[in-house]
Assembly symmetry: C2
Homo-oligomer: 123 residues x 2
DNA sequence: ATTTAAAAATTACAAATGTAATCTTATGTT
DNA sequence: AACATAAGATTACATTTGTAATTTTTAAAT
């Protein structure tokens, strides 16, 4: 599948959060990001063309829903990002966040739990 | 400053690894990624225009070096990425990596050290 | 000094992207 | 049934990006 652009992703994020939704509901959800209605419609069309979302007719309107899985998308993008920006090493990202005080209590707790889980699985 | 594109970043990464370098040295470094010489030259020009790199003349050739800091770039991009893809939460990224077995011994060790460091600083 | 070859500068060009406006069509209303 | 209106479809258009080719300049060799 073709790449999903940044602005397309904003639309997709809405549908990952809650779906199905019709176009005007999506427009409303994106009003905060001051994205114009016509722009959202364009992006919906492009996402359909890219087979990232699908729809079914509901009266005059369409009901859209994602066709790709958010978690899969996230992990794939993460790998690509870390490859591109960090040469494939994850930990510099974490270290960078730590250094710039971007980590909070909750992050640390979750990191610990991830580590614990990982170690359990290594048995 | 304008955004740095993916292919531009590949060039910039070479210079972050070692600089200053002249164009043909950079071309050589990128030969592995089968990037055409002319393409590299174009990207060097664009990076100069974007003020991401600078140069000084050395004979007929230019010696290029980065003008922006890699760590700063990395943290900024990381924040943007995590905002865009994970809605701002770091830990799902790590958890995702863990779940897909993308974490190795070394990553875990570094994560632990980051956590330790973080806790020390919270005192 | 001339020629040449290598560097840099300029130009090219299609595809993707951001951002809408306009056109067409189907549906709800009167 | 006619019509207004709202949805979706199509068109628009400048900018960015990937990927080079062509042109111009200039230092190096003879």
């Amino acid at each position: 599948m073709q790449e999903i652009s940044n602005s397309e992703l904003a639309v997709l994020n809405v549908l990952w959060h809650h779906s199905p939704l019709n176009a005007s509901e999506i427009v409303n959800a994106l009003a905060a990001q001051q994205m114009h209605e016509k722009t959202v419609k364009t992006l919906l069309n492009r996402l359909v063309k890219k087979q990232a979302i699908g729809f079914e007719k509901q009266g005059r309107a369409y009901l859209y829903q994602p066709l790709i899985n958010q978690n899969e998308y996230q992990i794939k993008q993460s790998k690509t990002f870390i490859e591109r920006v960090f040469g494939g090493n994850l930990s510099p990202l974490i270290a960078g966040f730590a250094k710039h005080n971007e980590l909070n209590e909750k992050d640390i707790a979750e990191l610990k739990s991830v580590i614990e889980q990982w170690e359990k699985e290594q048995k």
